[in-house]
């Protein structure tokens, strides 16, 4: 049965252990545990699911009772933050610096004019340019206890939230069950905590039409993330526009690959490298070749 209620986990026995399935962060989530022990599998799957739900609850912009809502509705006033949020803000700052402003968690306001659903319209230049003053991570002031966000600006943790959740869940598993191989997959952001014992690797299906990925990726330990526009894009005047937006222009990146898949140690790394590659548009491949990571680009 695929039916999963919010906060409901479905566990099925698989060839090499147990599979837990649940929904979190608007994505179907899988947790594959290599063990014969149902109780152990249950403990691990519930640990992973609860961490996913905790992070979703705390940072989702679709809820009105969390830190994300408090920040985005602070209207310029000082908001108290906890150590975990400070860590995420620092990470976002580093990503902004590393990418010369191309990776920017305040660019979510562009969603007000850009929609990548089927038949969505192409926004006018005027509307896009009106939003540009609301974008810019450097306009945010924060320290370890508090943050000040300009009125009308927004922070969207969605750009790193799923990757962060996978890595946090993996970390909990590694701490509590260091010898068990667990594959965590939150809507395509995936990580394996420990090499499997009964087989040399996990077979991982990837959302890509590349011939070399047809049979899936083999992964014994590490993370795989895919960034892409296979479903989310706009056609305007015969040109295809992917959903990755340039925060400095407010427009979709031109000539970006359809999908970029990156393999790295952590999901945060893999996810960020995949996103940055997309932001490099036509130079995605050359950007990735410099990173000494395994990657697949689909044009």
């Amino acid at each position: 049965m695929s039916y999963k209620k919010q906060n409901q986990i479905e566990i099925t026995e698989q060839e090499h252990g147990f599979l837990g399935q649940f929904n979190a962060m608007a994505s179907p989530c899988d947790c594959l545990v290599e063990t014969d022990n149902l109780q152990q599998a249950k403990s691990i799957i519930e640990l992973v699911a609860n961490e996913a739900w905790r992070i979703e609850q705390k940072y989702s912009r679709y809820q009105d009772n969390n830190i994300c809502y408090a920040i985005n509705n602070s209207n310029g006033s000082r908001v108290a933050i906890d150590p975990e949020t400070f860590g995420l803000l620092q990470f976002a700052q580093q990503c902004y610096d590393i990418s010369d402003g191309m990776f920017d968690l305040t660019s979510g306001v562009l969603r007000r004019v850009w929609s990548f659903k089927p038949n969505a319209s192409f926004p006018s230049r005027e509307k896009v340019e009106q939003l540009l003053p609301l974008i810019g991570w450097n306009k945010i002031k924060f320290d370890k206890d508090s943050l000040i966000l300009q009125p009308e600006m927004e922070i969207d943790f969605g750009g790193i939230g799923k990757e962060y959740a996978v890595d946090k869940a993996a970390q909990l598993v590694i701490e509590q069950f260091p010898d068990i191989s667990v594959l965590i997959n939150f809507g395509g952001d995936l990580r394996v905590t420990h090499a499997p014992v009964k087989r040399p690797y996990w077979q991982v299906g990837v959302d890509s039409q590349l011939a070399q990925l047809e049979k899936s990726i083999r992964l014994s330990i590490g993370a795989i993330c895919t960034s892409g526009d296979t479903e989310r894009y706009l056609i305007h005047n015969g040109k295809r526009y992917g959903h990755i937006l340039n925060p400095t222009t407010g427009y979709p990146i031109k000539n970006a690959p359809h999908t970029v898949t990156v393999i790295a140690d952590h999901c945060l790394q893999a996810g960020l490298l995949a996103t940055l590659a997309m932001l490099h548009g036509p130079k995605a491949e050359s950007f990735l070749s410099d990173q000494s990571v395994k990657f697949y680009c689909q044009r």
């Binding site: 039916y3 919010q6 026995e13 022990n37 403990s43 640990l47 990470f91 890595d167 790295a264 790394q269």
Partner: protein, 442 residues
Amino acid sequence: MQLVNQSKRMSKKAKNVSTAIAAASCALLGSSAQAEGDFWDFSKDWKFDTGFLYYGETDRVSAVEGVFSATHEPEFNDKFNFKVVLDSLTGASPSGAIAQPNSQTFTRPSGNGQYTAEAGEIPLDDTFRDTRLQMNAQWTKPAWENVTSSYGVHFSKEYDYLSLALNGSLAWDLNQKNSTFSAGLSYASDTYEPVGGIPDPLSSMVIDLGQFPTDQDFQDAFDATRIDSSDDRQTTDILLGWTQVINRSTIMQFNYSYSNVSGYLNDPFKVISLVDNGGIATDHIYENRPDSRTKHSFYWQTKHHFDESIMDVSVRYFTDDWGIKSQTVEYKHLFYIGDSSFIEPQFRYYSQTAADFYQPYLLDSAAVPEFASADIRLGEFTGVTLGLKYGWKTNAGNEMALRLSYYKQSAKDVLDSHPGVLNDLEIYPDMDAVFLQYTYSF
């Protein structure tokens, strides 16, 4: 000039990105190792279910039942379940005798004392009182690859009744567990030891209407209608099942069951009235049923999961060599309300034809048949159940549910005409009942 510099800076920086991101990731993941999730304790292998049921028929039997079930499941498909059910019944049940225009007196099944039925009322034996203890132990284990075995013992004891049963079954998982075929066998041995003994089938109920000079004379006459102090029966059941996953949201089940019962199949408390051409009862004789019965039952169930609800439809067809054929249609639909509660309306329709030997009464002008019973459970009737279940999760994550349902049973006339006074009387007992059930799992 400036532009060139910018582009150079970018490409130079790009080469270091991977390492910088790795360092930032490690810093983030290392910085906030929180203890969230520690209060979740998953070490328990035991699960407990408790339940409480109230069942009440209007003016008749009422029952309360308590259920306690413990399940130990250390491994997937390796399960032990122990269940205890205690129920207590009190009240009155139709004795099988016919209503009359005048009041009637009957002897209690034990021979001690009498019960009466007012004019126009269907006679009810008011001594229906019993406490039943049931215990069940079931083991389920993987037998070999893709095969699960299950076996169990069952014990049920009432004051005048003892049942012991054994069962075993095997389930084969086929085609990536999308299909499961199961076959089971069970055997039960029941012993009846009614207070007052086993009545001689088709003998007349001895009623003390003042005709006996002494109590001993009545007792001797009563004892003469008794053939034994106890009797028994044996039941063999075979169950074949097929469960099929149709797609990710639909599952279907087909069951066939065969059951053979032999031995004492009468209800020692039931009588059937003999009436004359005017419809007046002249005698009440103890019922007699064949000493074997073979049943076949076919069952189909489909569950479909929608986004926010689960539909559950089932149909059962039953037939036996006593001439009873029945159909059951049931529809349940579970709707989730928010994340932690649900509501489930239930509708069930049941109809059955009468056993060949079922008669509401016998004519005393005709020869008494070999088999006869006026037990309405063997008659022709329809039953409708309407119910509503509400379930919710407590803050601690335990599940509770409350179910309220209403059952209405309506008999159908199996005869074309009735003699004399019976035309103005209620012949078939109808029934209304209410169930209230509470369950708690922890």
